[in-house]
Symmetry: C2
Subunit: 320 residues, 2 copies
């Protein structure tokens, strides 16, 4: 295994920093220029054996995905990502080429998203883990979880359940035709943070409540419901399923309701927005799946195929 400093040098090699980074990696702290008076901060982690296995994808995909799950949090606030610091926990038995490729993926994803990698820390551990703290700008309104109101309509971008199906394929728990398989697995391994869509949502007035789909549709909607002090009704038959999902799982939306890691956006707008108009604004397919109501709970209607008491994907409870 390469030493600590060698790894930090590898991580920082060929890094491109914007003018906003006054002092990059290599000192006790980075110094950044905060252009606006408000900034976004988030932290997220991917742990080997919990969120990924080495055999599932390439090191490059792993690096890209570690950043993407953080970018998605910035997207879900309507923000613009700007800076990150990375903590890498490394274990024995992983060679330097692996880290080179992982960093390549990570740095390419950072560049594509306009993010400066301004610092890092490396520690030994028994499991590989990538923890990223990401800072972003908030040019306009924030998409908060606590601003949903009874009467709002609930939408999601893209299709839901693909990543959960992809994960189950990787785990050997689900079989699918070849083409569907590769689409679903790729949706798990290569999530795309919906940054442009988040920014577009932040221009709608009043600003929608929003969250990214990381834990699963029902569980994530549960966060909005809880923080907004409202209830929600979801039409299970309206949840958008991809052709690949249908090829693997038929018309049963259970996994789309409960499975996580799609990193699509779920948002609640005042009534009257048309799917087509929203799709044009967001640059993504948008589907109305239900409405915010008075109350405190999430009700699912029309879920003929689902088992009762379905919960979202909770990494702490459902170890693969």
């Amino acid at each position: 295994m390469p030493g600590e400093f060698e790894l930090i040098e590898r991580l920082c090699a060929g890094i491109t920093l914007s003018k906003r980074t006054i002092l990059g990696p290599g000192d006790d702290c980075a110094i950044i220029a905060s252009r606006r008076s408000r900034m976004l901060v988030t932290i997220d982690s991917m742990v080997e054996g919990v969120h990924f296995r080495l055999g599932w994808g390439t090191p490059r995909e792993l690096g890209r995905r570690a950043l993407a799950v953080n970018l998605s949090d910035i997207a879900a606030m309507g923000g613009v990502p700007a800076f990150c610091v990375i903590n890498l926990a490394v274990r024995r038995g992983i060679d330097a080429a692996f880290f080179d490729n992982m960093y390549r993926g990570l740095k390419a994803a950072a560049r594509a998203a306009g993010v400066d990698v301004v610092g890092g820390n490396i520690t030994r551990a028994d499991q590989l883990a990538i923890t990223i703290a990401l800072l972003g700008d908030l040019p306009g309104a924030a998409l908060r979880r606590d601003s949903a109101r009874a009467g709002d309509e609930i939408f999601v971008t893209g299709t839901v359940g693909d990543a959960a199906a992809g994960l189950r394929i990787l785990q050997g728990k689900l079989h699918a035709p070849v083409r569907a398989r590769s689409f679903l697995v790729s949706r798990f391994l290569n999530p795309a943070a919906r940054l442009d869509a988040g920014r577009a949502l932040a221009r709608i007035r009043p600003a929608p409540a929003a969250i990214d789909l990381s834990d699963g549709l029902l569980q994530d909607l549960g966060h909005i419901v809880e923080r907004s002090g409202v209830g929600a009704e979801i039409d299970a038959q309206a949840v958008p399923l991809s052709p690949a999902y249908r090829a693997a799982l038929g018309d049963d939306p259970s996994l789309a309701l409960g499975g996580g890691e799609d990193y699509e956006l779920l948002f609640c707008t005042s009534a009257g927005h048309r799917e087509r108009d929203l799709a044009r604004r967001l640059g993504l397919p948008v589907t109305r799946i239900g409405k915010i109501v008075k109350g405190r709970s999430v009700t699912v209607i029309g879920n003929r195929g689902a088992s009762g008491g379905m919960r979202g994907f909770d990494q702490l409870r459902s170890r693969d």
Copy 2:
């Protein structure tokens, strides 16, 4: 083991946030107000079995220490800590009371340092790990690693080697008289970030080069030497040793030169500053231990007791 949301609620319970936090924990990101145009960012991690063992100290000490090692990076830049986000990797077999006490220590340390805990993330893992990303303000000049110049004099705050001796006592590798033992162990378990001293250093002109002693005096000085493109000469006999260190190890400064985690500040000022004046400014004992010279390497003179080729504490190489 408590569930993810329960743990996040425990972490956030009773949290006090300043007016600078526009949106605290519970959304996709926190929203903070950046008062100044420049901000400091750092990330650091403590991993069970690498940086600590549960039996060594109390959960409260563990929480406090996890923040202190980050605060120390802000101190070493001359900054003022302001916000943090915490990633907690939890394993089976640790009960809720442990986390309550750890969070108590962490939140108390945050309050004392003026830090808002604005967000967190919790994941499962096989080892307990606390990773903190810390943001700070930089009201004046930065204390950089790359600004040491030949002719500068090298100083350290406090005493050096205590934490390394304390660690070896906890590991059963070193014996010491009872009173010395408790002092040294406490220096390891309860490091104090030198925030006031860092701020005071940042008011000296030209701004000193500085680093906090985390990896060990020689290794940390090596970072300054490398980034500044200079050499250094250290007088081993001048390195300040505590009475407890001497009680355990005699006059041999080897562990003080190589051992890490003291979280004192090492800094390089233009010649002519007197120890006594610096101590008054910084509010801490200050000792001159050498000088910056032309060249590229660190030379230690007068180290009669030391073995050759001594290196700093490198967590990746020297597993306990």
